[in-house]
Amino acid sequence: MATGQTLLALASIVLLSIITMSIRSMYVQSVNTTVESQEMADALNYGRDIAEELQSFAFGFENIGVIENQMNSMPGQYQSSSTVLNEKTSSANNLWIVERQEETQIGRQYYASVELPTSMQPLTSHNQQGVIAIIRIFEEKEENEFEKIAEYSTAVLPL
């Protein structure tokens, strides 16, 4: 076999190796992307569930104490808290940790917090009394190390 052909064969083998590695890398990346995408979707749905639950508190809502009572009357669901995981926030507000951690199919744990004002406020230019709840979704990356994934806000007014 001529030297040129040998070099071409070697170059082909090198290229083939690179291609094989690239395919493998892309496959891993593809799986990783799919998993991350699913995680994000789970986290966003978790936040939406909590937002809809808070919106359901609008029925029978007369003052902020009624929402607190509803939260307290759901054992294991909400717990009053002074800190929102490791997220700094206004200490004047009324903080709750959602105790239902969402475990995804791949075993990730999500945590959520709900921040409420201490009293009802006039909302929008129509000045209707209600509260704005801020919902934050976290993932525990390391022990007691939380990373915020999403933040929603929703208003709750008496219905």
């Binding site: 040129g4 052909q5 071409l8 064969a9 170059a11 082909s12 290229l15 083939l16 291609i19 690239s22 395919i23 892309m26 990346q29 593809s30 992307t33 799919t34 995408s37 994000m40 979707a41 966003l44 936040g47 939406r48 937002a51 919106q55 609008a58 909302l123 929008t124 230019s125 129509h126 209707q128 009394q129 209600g130 704005i132 999403a150 929603y152 806000s153 929703t154 208003a155 709750v156 007014l157 008496p158 219905l159």
Partner: protein, 441 residues
């Protein structure tokens, strides 16, 4: 051989590049979908929240813009426009259509970034007769405060269960000779600041909240023609004013206006732009009932009297108020030595009764303040002001009931519930209790 190898490797590289491009495309779309999903959720939250705001506005404000006339549509803030909502990090748009005066179709649109989410809500719309059941001397939604020499002859109710919502002071004497009932679930010992021995009757919690709803302010009837204004003593027959628009009735200097109201069973209507009675008298002659619709000005001062000595149920006055002073409070003053014998319904004006002013009849107001001062006297089936702070200061006497958001008594106020008062409720409507959500999707 080498040539074939190169072709094969080239084909493989092409395949890998294609795969890589497809993968990157999929990754990009995956991220876009996540962002879209987040945006859609937040747009959904905004639309739900804006809908709740609109529903509250409809229910709480009898003049809500979100409650258009039959067949009309109200759009906020304007066609194809969105109003920013900073706390929600987005914008909203609301449209309400009144379908045949039986259904309000509310469309709420939330917008976050470029994502829009729309929901449709149906609210049944109906009206029922306004006929509040009042059997207490004082009712307050939020708080009741009684000073040292105040005395309530009758029951007191309060919807609040907040601590110290009822303040009876520290004097060891009975200030409420009837019962005191607080909101459902409340503990009177906690709700009352002071001593429960200030209450002569029972104390306890009500089984349900008491709802006192403002009646709908009536639409003024159409006028057939314009009559003459009145500036001096005169007499008006029913043909002079019934169904007509009288621009002004302005009396001063001991003038007397006699208004013929026809025979018993007659119901006559006068539409007046300005009604100003200073040290003069307006008398009702005849046995019919007069309903007076006043546009922008009511003033009763000096020794002004209206229907003194007549039947309280013969006169009903509606006061729309000056729409041009929407941004500041308007107050109807009844001062000096005046006397008004009839019922009054002010759409949004505050009411002030002072000096030795007297009023006999129902007083209904959507305003936020009612002041009773000096030696004012009100003999009223009800001072019905569920949105107002009713403040009483001086030697004030009220026979009847007070319905308020909060009641603040000081000086020597006496409120005496009288079940035998024969003042009739005006024939009014309220937004029906069946104003409920029919669908939400």
């Amino acid at each position: 051989m080498g040539k074939y190898a190169l072709i094969i490797v080239g084909a493989l590289i092409f395949s890998v590049l294609t795969y890589s491009y497809a993968l990157k495309n999929a990754l990009f779309h995956s991220n876009v979908r996540s962002v879209q999903s987040y945006s859609q959720n937040q747009a959904h939250n905004i639309s739900q929240s804006a809908a709740m705001v609109a529903i509250n506005d409809i229910r709480n404000d009898s003049n809500s813009n979100f409650h258009p006339s039959a067949g009309q549509t109200y759009v906020f803030p304007g066609a194809d426009q969105f109003s920013p909502w900073g706390d929600m990090h987005g914008e909203y748009h609301l449209e309400v259509m009144n379908q045949a005066d039986t259904l309000l179709n509310l469309q709420s649109t939330g917008k976050f970034k470029d994502t829009i989410y729309r929901i449709n809500i149906g609210l049944s719309k109906g009206t029922t007769s306004w006929n509040p059941i009042i059997d207490q001397a004082i009712h307050a939604e939020n708080s009741v405060s009684l000073g040292g020499n105040d005395f309530v002859k009758g029951d007191v109710t309060i919807n609040s269960i907040q601590s110290s919502a009822v303040n009876l002071g520290s004097q060891p004497k009975v200030k409420i000779d009837g019962s005191l009932m607080v909101g459902p679930g409340g503990d009177p010992e906690s709700v009352v600041a002071g001593n429960l021995t200030n209450v002569g009757g029972n104390t306890g919690a009500m089984l349900d909240l008491l709802k006192y709803t403002m009646p709908l302010f009536p639409d003024y009837p159409a006028v057939s023609s314009t009559g003459s204004s009145v500036y001096s003593s005169t007499s008006l027959s029913t043909s002079d004013y019934n169904g007509k628009y009288i621009p002004e009735i302005v009396l001063s200097g001991n003038s007397t206006l006699n208004i013929d109201t026809g025979e018993e069973g007659d119901e006559v209507v006068m539409h007046v732009g300005k009604f100003d009675v200073q040290s003069s008298s307006v008398n009702l002659a005849g046995s019919g009932k007069l309903t007076m619709y006043v546009d922008t000005h009511i003033d009763l001062k000096g020794k002004g009297t209206v229907n003194e000595g007549g039947d309280v149920n013969q006169l009903m006055v509606y006061y729309k108020g000056n729409q041009e002073v929407e941004l500041y409070e308007e107050t109807l003053d009844f001062g000096g030595n005046t006397y008004f014998n009839g019922s009054l319904f002010a759409d949004k004006a505050n009411i002030k009764l002072y000096g030795t002013a007297g009023i006999q009849g129902n007083v209904i107001t959507g305003g936020d303040h009612v002041d009773l001062k000096g030696n004012a006297e009100a003999i009223s089936r009800s001072i019905f002001a569920p949105n107002a702070t009713v403040e009483s200061n001086g030697t004030v006497y009220v026979r009847g009931s007070i319905i308020s958001y909060q009641f603040v008594g000081s000086g020597t106020t006496t409120v005496e519930y009288d079940p035998d008062l024969d003042t009739e409720w005006p024939d009014l409507e309220q937004i029906g209790e069946d104003f409920v959500v029919l669908y939400w999707n």
